[in-house]
């Protein structure tokens, strides 16, 4: 049984972002509490990925406030944001293609691997200990997501679905507190989605908080504590999965009328 502490982890206030004349994100507010799984859904081009980009510091020039663990994110570099505890996956997969699966994960541990140049040049005891530790951790993460068998493969050779999983593994390795998943189930078949769903749930059990963008309603409705709905950059609804599934405006703009597959 998971526990949602009533502690606000991430708060977004009046978030806005323009591209030329286009208001990609328009005055969006939301809150994520520690231990929650929150989904952001909405039609294509609604501005979901852009919100992730703002949260991770890819665009620095935006309106509104992002507050993570009580501190403002504005003006921080992407590195600082990762170190503060926000990690993500990409909608268009961006793995380190010519690196092996395990090296991808080890790269995720970059910010929490602490030894200095002399340690690494002389391969000191400390260095070897930390390297072994991190490698062990990477193997464990891969094991938990089902990629252990493929850890020596080059990531570019993995099938699509495995690449998505590897992205998640890499994000976990950063020791982030909150993990932003951008359409993790895209390209997976229902059975794999189900497996993924269990995995995401297990992450919460291990103390992570999840912010999720997903179009697969079977995943979203099953997993989310709460859902925010975005359309044309604006938040048009928020609530529990059941509320959202029956929200007229959401059905109109997003779910479609004759949706029979949603449970």
């Amino acid at each position: 049984m998971k526990t949602v502490e009533n502690k606000t982890l991430l708060e977004v206030k009046n978030l806005s972002m323009n591209f030329g004349g286009l208001k990609a994100v328009d005055d969006v507010n939301f809150v994520v509490k520690k231990g929650e799984i929150i989904s952001i859904i909405g039609p294509n081009g609604a501005g979901k990925t852009t919100i992730f980009n703002l949260l991770t510091g890819i665009y620095s020039d935006f309106g509104g406030k992002i507050i993570f663990e009580g501190r403002e994110i504005q003006g921080k570099t992407p590195q600082e944001i990762v170190m503060a505890g926000i990690a993500r996956t990409f909608q268009n997969i961006r793995l380190f293609k010519e690196m092996r699966v395990i090296e991808n994960v080890l790269t995720g541990t970059h910010t929490n691997t602490h030894y200095n140049f002399l340690d690494l040049i002389f391969r000191t005891r400390k260095f070897r200990k930390i390297e072994a530790e991190k490698t062990q951790k990477a193997i464990d993460i891969l094991d938990s997501i089902g990629l252990k068998d493929k850890m020596s493969d080059y990531s570019v050779n993995l099938p699509y679905g495995d690449q998505r999983k590897l992205e998640i593994a890499r994000a976990i390795a950063t020791n982030a507190k909150i993990i932003l998943l951008d359409e993790p189930a895209a390209g997976m078949n229902p059975q794999e989605s189900e497996y993924l769903l269990d995995f995401i749930k297990s992450l919460v059990g291990r103390g992570y908080t999840i912010l999720l963008i997903e179009h697969d309603m079977s995943v979203v409705m099953n997993i989310s504590d709460r859902i925010y709905v975005i359309d044309h950059g604006k938040k048009i609804a928020e609530g529990l999965p059941t509320e959202i599934a029956n929200n007229k405006q959401v059905i109109e703009a997003y779910l479609g009328k004759e949706e029979e597959d949603v449970a």
């Binding site: 591209f19 859904i41 909405g42 039609p43 294509n44 081009g45 609604a46 979901k48 990925t49 909608q91 268009n92 050779n157 993995l158 099938p159 699509y160 679905g161 495995d162 359409e183 895209a186 390209g187 997976m188 078949n189 229902p190 059975q191 794999e192 989605s193 189900e194 179009h215 309603m217 079977s218 099953n222 703009a253 997003y254 779910l255 479609g256 009328k257 004759e258 949706e259 597959d261 949603v262 449970a263």
Partner: protein, 235 residues
């Protein structure tokens, strides 16, 4: 119409397709399902000439077309909406569509095709001049499908067309597949959303680690217990 005979395809020394036999008849919708890495994309790549089969033959309209360059295959009437969208990132939506119609000559018909795809995807029309790299994932997916349609193919190959699209658009796409099929286009559909795919398809093939392990009437497979368990999920 399109026939694959004992096709084997390799990536260097990874044996990805291990003897695929596949037939698509004129006017059919055929779907190819299977889990990650089963070889679906590889199959489509082999048909379109992007990958060369090591052994085996491909026939189109009873003419062999194994080893022909992709450009020629498109001219003969086969077009693909590829996995991963593969848009031309720095070109506008409109230029992407123009390239979609690259092999066609008749200006008037091309104009009609523009009208058709813009009507199908009003978002693309709105953003006609936006550089396609800046489109959202779903918008790029729409563009990839629209671009494949611009070739006005006899056989349309779709690699996970619903990927990244919102639920209402997914429904729209499946309806679209039915519609263009009714207008005479033969369709080979690769989908993760096996349930939907089997619903619209006439026939289906199930692929597992480079081999076809099952084939038959789509509706029958939809109710097959094994298929249900492996590919349809129980959510």
């Amino acid at each position: 119409m399109l026939k694959l005979k004992n096709v084997h395809t390799y990536y260097d020394n990874i044996h990805a397709l291990k003897g695929i036999d596949l037939v698509i008849n004129r006017g059919e919708i055929v779907t190819l399902i299977g889990s990650n890495g089963a070889g679906k994309t590889t199959t489509l790549g082999t048909i379109t000439g992007l990958l060369k089969p090591k052994t085996g033959k491909i026939f189109y309209n009873d003419k062999e077309m194994t080893g022909i360059i992709p450009g020629e295959i498109v001219k003969r009437g086969i077009s693909l909406s590829p996995e991963g969208r593969e848009v031309f990132p720095q070109l506008s939506i409109h230029d992407n569509l123009r390239l979609g119609a690259y092999t066609r000559k008749n200006k008037k018909e091309i104009e009609e095709s523009y009208d058709m795809v813009y009507e199908l995807f009003p978002r693309l029309k709105e953003r006609k001049n936006q550089v396609s790299k800046t489109l959202s994932g779903g918008e790029q997916q729409m563009l990839a499908i629209a671009r494949a349609l611009m070739a006005k193919p006899e056989v349309l190959l779709l690699d996970e067309p619903s990927l990244g699209l919102s639920p209402n658009l997914v429904q729209m796409i499946f309806k679209l597949i039915k519609d263009i099929n009714n207008l005479g286009t033969t369709i080979l559909l690769v989908e993760q959303n096996a349930k939907m795919a089997l619903r619209v398809a006439d026939r289906a093939y199930v692929l597992e680690t480079g081999k076809i392990i099952m084939e038959g009437d789509a509706k029958k497979l939809l109710n097959d217990e094994n298929v249900k368990k492996a590919y349809l999920g129980n959510l």
